[in-house]
């Protein structure tokens, strides 16, 4: 065993210490945001159904929508929706064979992250000040 070269061999990524590339991080985030959006849609559909159920039902749903819980769920949903939308647009580029080089995929990942935060802030500004 003495002559075995232990320092110079290619290793498969060790998952606990492997730093995921940004393209992998944003890919996983796309799946998470897509599924998490169910919370926002349930809140809004409950609110719409309550509006045709009666005044008490609407008062309860509207209170939740306008409370800090509703603010967190809906702002989170707005960010998730923008993120998922931008990532979906990138998928259309991927499917047409573009943005697949490592540097391009890395840059597109940052564009999705920064773009989703900027669009969420713009949405909030539009909501509170327009």
């Amino acid at each position: 065993m003495a002559d075995v070269n232990r320092g110079n061999r290619p290793l498969s990524p060790h998952l606990q210490v492997y730093r995921l590339p940004m393209a992998a991080v944003t890919s996983i985030m796309t799946r998470i945001t897509g599924h998490a959006l169910v919370a926002g849609i349930l809140l809004l559909v409950w609110w719409l159904v309550a509006a045709v159920t009666g005044p008490e039902a609407f008062a309860a749903a509207d209170w939740v929508v306008r409370s800090w819980i509703g603010f967190i769920v809906l702002t989170g949903s707005a960010w998730a929706l923008w993120f998922h939308t931008l990532a979906g647009i990138r998928h259309l580029f991927y499917d047409s064979g573009q943005l697949l080089r490592i540097e391009e995929a890395e840059r597109a990942s940052w564009a999705i992250i920064i773009g989703s935060v900027v669009l969420t802030l713009l949405s909030l500004i539009l909501f509170f000040f327009a």
């Binding site: 799946r31 599924h35 849609i41 559909v45 509006a51 008062a59 306008r66 939308t85 259309l92």
Partner: protein
């Protein structure tokens, strides 16, 4: 070497038996959703904060009602196909079948609830 001929590999539309239909549906619906997402967010942003009668009248109007209905129908069917990819990745055997059934039934229940609410708000507005 491959033991099956190219013709045999293409027959029956592959192991999913539906070929690339799901992927193509996600592509088409994602293009629709790129337009529907900002429109839906504007509609909801306008609606939050309204009184009960204002809200019913607002969703009784054609554009808020149609944009909301289209977003929820297209979005939830997109959701069914999206969860299907996740289910196929993480679940096997009976758990996979149960997860697919739960996902489809849940999504159509959400669509039914939203369409009912929007239809009723439109009818109430017409009655006024």
């Amino acid at each position: 070497m491959r033991y099956i001929t190219p013709r045999k590999a293409a027959m029956g539309l592959g192991s999913a038996h539906s070929g690339t239909a799901d992927h193509w549906f996600l592509t088409v619906s994602s293009c629709a959703l790129v337009l529907l997402v900002p429109a839906f967010m504007l509609v909801i942003g306008n609606a939050i904060g309204m009184s009960h009668p204002e809200l019913v009248a607002y969703f009784g109007r054609p554009y808020p009602a149609l944009i909301t209905a289209l977003f929820i129908v297209v979005g939830m069917v997109h959701f069914i196909k999206g969860t299907r990819i996740m289910i196929d990745d993480y679940f096997q055997h009976t758990a996979r079948k149960v997860a697919i059934i739960v996902s489809v039934v849940f999504s159509w229940a959400v669509i039914a609830a939203a369409v009912f609410a929007l239809a009723k708000m439109t009818l109430v507005t017409v009655a006024i």
